[in-house]
């Protein structure tokens, strides 16, 4: 894997006078699970959206497997988006359509426009979609409408759609922020398993420290659009966390936690190896 898998080079995004992402530089050499943490407004979402090309960058470069992703246009850009799945905090499914159809949307880029307009997906794809749903434990909901599912189930449908894309990289923008602790755990477990079993790179924005520690191989901390930390979970001490969150001494890690049992604990839990 000599050359870098993904190289983000001085990537910058400004909204008017406001610099949302400021010369972010990250290099990923092998598939791994990366967590990005930071305060609200730190630029995490903007960074991921630039990777997926949902938002155009201002300057800098993203190179994936030697290809300049930031320079792509039209059909090529869409082909890259098909290779780079994105999972959203609000799931961004089509709520009135059934689960399988939502998953099948992952193949839209590969299908002719006309066939897809009439919702004509090949049977093989339908089977694969159901297999993926089965892998995520929600196959029995296949014929239901997405809106009829709980948040955690919907997020798993979104993951299934991402898997349906057979992507080279999966981006997840706060995938568990709208979920209760129980569902959050299921979703994070699923993402981790996808990384481990399929060997895909997963980059996830996370708003809680302990989730990042628990699931990620590498943690990147952002503050005011800049990358202020990049290391292993073990290197992420409370002091470093305080810097990232720009918090004062009253910062308590539990305050950001959504993990089950956090309320019952009085001592910090031992980090669980990912």
């Amino acid at each position: 894997m000599g050359a870098a898998l993904l190289r983000i080079d001085e990537l910058t995004k400004t909204f008017g006078k406001n610099t949302a992402v400021d010369r972010a530089t990250i290099q990923v050499d092998r598939p791994m699970m990366i967590g990005i943490i930071g305060r609200s407004g730190a630029g995490k979402s903007t960074l991921l959206r630039m990777l997926n090309r949902l938002t155009d960058h201002t300057s800098g470069q993203v190179v994936f497997e030697g290809r300049d992703v930031t320079a792509l246009k039209g059909a090529e850009k869409r082909a890259w988006q098909a290779d780079c799945a994105m999972i959203f905090q609000q799931f961004n499914l089509v709520p009135r359509m059934d689960v399988v159809s939502n998953v099948l949307h992952g193949t839209l880029n590969k299908r002719s426009t006309l066939a897809s307009l009439f919702n004509l997906f090949p049977e093989a794809d339908i089977h694969r979609a159901i297999d993926i749903l089965d892998r995520l434990g929600i196959a029995e909901h296949a014929p239901k409408r997405a809106e009829a599912l709980s948040g955690g189930q919907q997020q798993r449908v979104a993951i299934a759609r991402a898997l349906m894309q057979d992507p080279k990289i999966i981006l997840a923008d706060e995938p568990i922020a709208s979920l209760d602790p129980m569902n959050a755990q299921i979703v994070m477990d699923a993402l981790r398993r996808i990384h481990e079993e399929d060997g895909r790179t997963v980059i996830a924005n996370l708003h809680t420290l302990d989730t990042a520690r628990r699931y990620c191989d590498r943690v990147i901390g952002m503050l005011h659009g800049r990358i202020v930390f990049d290391g292993t979970p073990e290197q992420l001490t409370t002091g470093v966390a305080r810097d990232i969150y720009g918090a004062d001494a009253s910062f308590s890690e539990e305050a950001t936690s959504t993990e089950i049992g956090a309320l019952n604990r009085t001592t910090r839990p031992a980090p669980i190896p990912a």
Binding site: N92, H105, L108
Partner: protein, 445 residues
């Protein structure tokens, strides 16, 4: 603590504040009804309600109400030839064949030339060869010898009651049971009876006056076709044509509403901010919608009648044009309110723009659009009644025409009942369809 230096004064100022608040509230709560009242009083005089009440003719109302549930039989004598004829509503198609009459009329014949009419309240009217008489219970005998010199009527002693309207050439007597008018040329008696006469069969049908049981047994014996034919082509009520008219009304609403939806959908994209960034195009589309909407369907009807002539198509097109305006506006609002997250989700998988519309926009707006269309379909059924009155189609024409001639109130009642039932059915049907389609999967497949 400095803020509450003196709790007493703080509280007093609070009370002042509250008093002020309530004075203001009292003022508004009094002012609004007063303004409304003042406006209504102004309108009362602007509309000249006192004059109207003064002029309103309750007799017209009574005629109307009575006509709506009863019919009158005319017994007419031509004072020159002496011929007597009997006809329901005085119409040719309701005429009794020569020499026949209802049982309360004893027609004169060669030996006894006097026609005797026996009324319910005990009154007896005779049409003799020279003399007409009306024996009014509780009043007396009125006689008349109409001829060139006038009606020549004579009344019992005393002043004329107000229900007798007599002049030299014309006498009109209105009692509860009948109305008799005598002029030089003609003597006519109207007798009111309950019901919608000849509703099922006219006099020339063999089935007239038959009981339901008889009809049923005849229907079973293979006469069902004839029975239905006689009913359906009833010259007095014309059930067949009325049914056609109802159908035409629904047809106008149907074509107009859904045609408008088909035209408006693409235009709505042009008028939606998030789909058409070009301000000029957007404003153009919106003003177009305003024009279509602002001109009422009725006026479009007049405009279109020149090109298409009278008929249901013109009505349907008028509805189509107006509703294109309404739908265009509402659809574009619905499009502006679409949830961007779904579209973004599709964008993130690399979907083409058309695919994004298909899966990100259409499923979202379909239920909104569909329910709007069905609402309009229902209310357009009602509008089509009015439009039909102008373009010459549908139940509306029958209704307004029957009203304008101001005599066939029983037909008016019949049509109103039909219109109300139709609107009820459409209301129920559109509600049912809406629930069915929107709960079912309207978006996905």
């Amino acid at each position: 603590m400095t803020l509450h230096a003196d709790p007493m004064t703080a509280q007093i100022s609070l009370k002042d504040q509250a008093d002020r608040l309530f004075r203001r509230k009292r003022l508004t709560s009094l002012a609004i009804p007063l303004v409304v009242l003042a406006y209504l009083v102004y309108a009362f005089f602007a509309f000249d309600v006192p004059g109207l009440i003064d002029r309103a003719d309750p007799e017209n109302g009574r005629t109307l109400v009575r006509d709506s549930y009863s019919y009158k039989t005319h017994v007419t004598r031509d004072n020159r030839s002496g011929a007597v004829s009997v006809a329901i509503e005085g119409e040719r198609k309701g005429a009794y064949p020569e020499g026949t009459s209802p049982d309360w009329v004893a027609l004169g014949s060669g030996s006894d030339p006097v026609t005797t009419i026996t009324l319910d309240g005990g009154g007896v009217v005779t049409f003799g060869p020279d003399q007409i008489s009306y024996d009014i219970p509780g009043y007396g005998l009125v006689t008349a010898r109409p001829g060139r010199t006038g009606a020549n009527a004579s009344f019992p002693e005393g002043p004329l009651p107000e229900w007798i309207n007599a002049s030299k050439n014309r006498v009109a007597i209105t009692t509860d049971e009948a109305r008799l008018s005598i002029t030089r040329n003609k003597t006519e008696l109207f007798r009111y009876s309950l019901g919608w006469e000849l509703f099922f069969f006219t006099l020339d049908s063999p089935y007239h006056g038959m009981s339901a049981g008889d009809l049923a047994s005849r229907a079973v014996n293979g006469e069902a076709g004839e029975i239905f034919h006689d009913f359906w082509t009833n010259a007095m009520w014309r059930h067949g044509e009325v049914a056609w008219a109802l159908f035409e009304t629904v047809l106008m609403a149907f074509l107009g509403t859904f045609g408008a939806a088909i035209v408006a959908l693409p235009l709505a994209f042009l008028a939606a901010r998030n789909f058409t960034p070009l301000t000029l195009v957007r404003q153009l589309a919106r003003r177009l919608f305003d024009l279509f909407r602002g001109v009422d369907a009725l006026i479009w009807t007049i405009v279109l009648a020149r090109a298409f002539g009278p008929g249901p198509l013109t009505g349907a097109l008028a509805i189509l044009v107006t509703d294109t305006g309404s739908f265009g506006k509402m659809f574009s609002e619905a499009l502006e309110n679409v949830d961007g997250k779904q579209i973004e989700g599709l964008q993130s998988v690399g979907a083409k723009p058309v695919q994004r519309y298909r899966f990100g926009v259409i499923p979202q707006v379909t239920p909104v659009l569909l329910s709007q269309m069905l609402y309009f379909f229902e209310s357009n059924t009602r509008s089509a009644t009015v439009i039909g009155a102008i373009t010459g189609g549908g139940i509306g024409l029958l209704l307004t025409q029957a009203m304008i001639t101001q005599k066939d109130w029983e037909e008016v009642t019949y049509y109103i009942v039909l219109v109300v039932l139709l609107v009820f059915v459409m209301d129920w049907f559109s509600g049912w369809l809406r629930r069915k389609l929107i709960k079912g999967d309207a978006g996905g497949h």
